[in-house]
Amino acid sequence: MRRGVRRKVCLPMSKSSSIKPPAALEVAALNVYFGQGSERFQAVKDVSFKLEKGDSFGLVGESGSGKSTVLRAISGLIADWDGRISTDGVVVPRHRNKAFYRRMQMVFQDPYASLHPRHTIDGILSEPLKLHGIKDRDAKVLKALDDVGLGKSFRFRYPHQLSGGQRQRVAVARALMLEPEILLLDEPTSALDVSVQAEILNLLNDLRRERNLTFLMVTHDLAVVAHMCQKIAVMNRGEIVEVLSVEQMRKETPKEAYTKELLTASRGYDPDFFSVA
């Protein structure tokens, strides 16, 4: 919380100073398409936002709103997009190179699906190091396990021997192996139990603080995004309908009816929901 306030104070100062560092991640006029030929349709329309270094930015919306599609286009998993994506002021190439992946990594939604079932944890964690020709792998794998709160006894186990929360810790560790500056989080806790969710969210927050990471987080859960992020963009049908700060959201001053609806719904069942919305 305090961090968010401090940043607000910082912003005008950096504006007044002559050299402003480029945004850690900037997305401008992003359009993403699915399908081909006559079935090609636009899943994301004219999405723009900017993250300063150390920001934690949330993309909120329901399924089909295009929030995950934005993440996948940024990471390069979807090829059919136009617009401009840049990190630290450098436009990312259409064919992402290894340097890009060292700067940006992603944590996926379902820890049961994002780890290869036939690879040991050791194999999963050392693979990015091998791909990038990084030495001293044994020590790095052990350190990574330790950083995410798993002991070295987990090193040679297979994913199916781990609980959902432990798997998600492995996924976080894998994303951090290349020491990226930006982490894309695609609903990282929606497949987990409440108590495990708290552990993973705390872990992510601690890591962000320690390493000054920049987070771009996608979720449908307003409570999670309010806990994790300072700024939130609400998406509906492929467009950003509103960008607001967490304080604004808490004070119930969203302008858009859709945001209000999401907010009411996130507080639990309300028999008057439909008369309000």
């Binding site: 998993l77 992946y101 994002s114 036939r118 690879h119 040991t120 050791d122 693979e127 040679f156």
Partner: protein, 306 residues
């Protein structure tokens, strides 16, 4: 002393927490072995295959006679005759010895087909499935063409073109056997192409070859191996069929199919000449089938969770 080391080994293999790469692999294999032991039919199949390998490896020790030496004085002796456990054929050769030596040919066929057809099918299928688009279209249409011909007819055509002989028979079988593997591998690849673990490795900057070999192949392997063991029966039968038609192994090689073919002339009066190699084919085919069925249960990654 051996007692303690055995307990030590068992404990090592039973460990919950592996402490090296080798250890983790060993535990996986041990778990598979235990599942094989728990499935009696699959274990019988496994024993049959082991028996086949032993026969082939120690043929000179196990066979009382030379499989090619003729003894016209001892023609068509019935099973149980002195020195001829399963009888002798029309040239006075010991059928038991010929079956033992014939296992070498069968094993050769099985091994050569197993290292060519499934590997080729795996490469074609996973590449087609992973790349998609026109590459997939072209590769799969070629596969369809091969699938459209009856196996034996296609093999016959190849052998006829290449000339009769055991090497050409193996080649012909391999050429006709790969398309189903390509289909299976492609289907498996399609199910995982868009999965998160493939996306995750793409985001680490891995290339296509790396993803296919390290991530896609290991997951296709189990269905390929199951299909392969189940196919082996068919491959042995195709080889025997080619032998029977005189297009496979040439006389005097003791190939089981060719032996049946030779025994056909005496089937009414000297039934054992054709029946004994027939039984050998039956037992080995059954062995592969039983093992294949069992492996399907053992290798299924979804079941190994419990």
């Amino acid at each position: 002393m051996t007692q303690t080391s055995k307990i030590g080994l068992r404990a090592w293999l039973d460990a919950e927490v592996p402490n090296s790469r080798l250890h983790a692999t060993a535990i996986q294999f041990y778990a598979g072995w235990l599942k094989l032991l728990a499935n009696p039919l699959a274990f019988i199949g496994f024993l049959v295959i082991v028996l086949l390998v032993v026969c082939a490896a120690f043929a000179p020790l196990l066979a009382p006679h030379d499989p090619l030496t003729q003894d016209l004085g001892a023609r068509l002796l019935p099973p149980g005759s002195d020195g001829y456990l399963l009888g002798s054929d029309e040239l006075g050769r010991d059928i038991y010895s010929r079956i033992i030596y014939g296992s070498r040919i069968t094993l050769l066929i099985v091994v050569l087909v197993a290292v060519t057809a499934p590997v080729f099918g795996l490469v074609v299928g996973t590449f087609a499935g992973y790349m998609g688009g026109w590459i997939d279209e072209v590769l799969m249409r070629i596969t369809d063409i091969f699938l459209a011909f009856p196996k034996l007819v296609l093999a016959l055509a190849f052998v006829a073109a290449l000339g009769a002989g055991i090497e050409n028979a193996i080649l012909a079988i391999a050429i006709t056997a790969w398309p189903p593997y390509a289909r299976i591998a492609r289907a498996e690849t399609l199910t995982m192409r868009n999965s998160d673990f493939i996306a995750a490795v793409q985001l680490q900057g891995a290339g296509t070859a790396h993803i296919l070999v390290r991530h896609v192949w290991p997951l296709c392997l189990s269905s390929i191996i199951v299909r392969m063991t189940l196919d082996m029966a068919g491959i042995i039968l195709t080889a025997a069929g080619l032998g029977f038609l005189g297009l496979g192994a040439q006389p005097p090689l003791p190939e089981w199919g060719a032996m049946i073919s030779a025994g056909r002339k005496f089937i009414l009066d000297q039934w054992w000449v054709a029946t004994m190699p027939g039984l050998a084919i039956f037992i080995v085919s059954l062995g592969f089938n039983l093992l294949g069925d069992g492996l399907r249960d053992i290798l299924d990654p979804k079941k190994s969770k419990s």
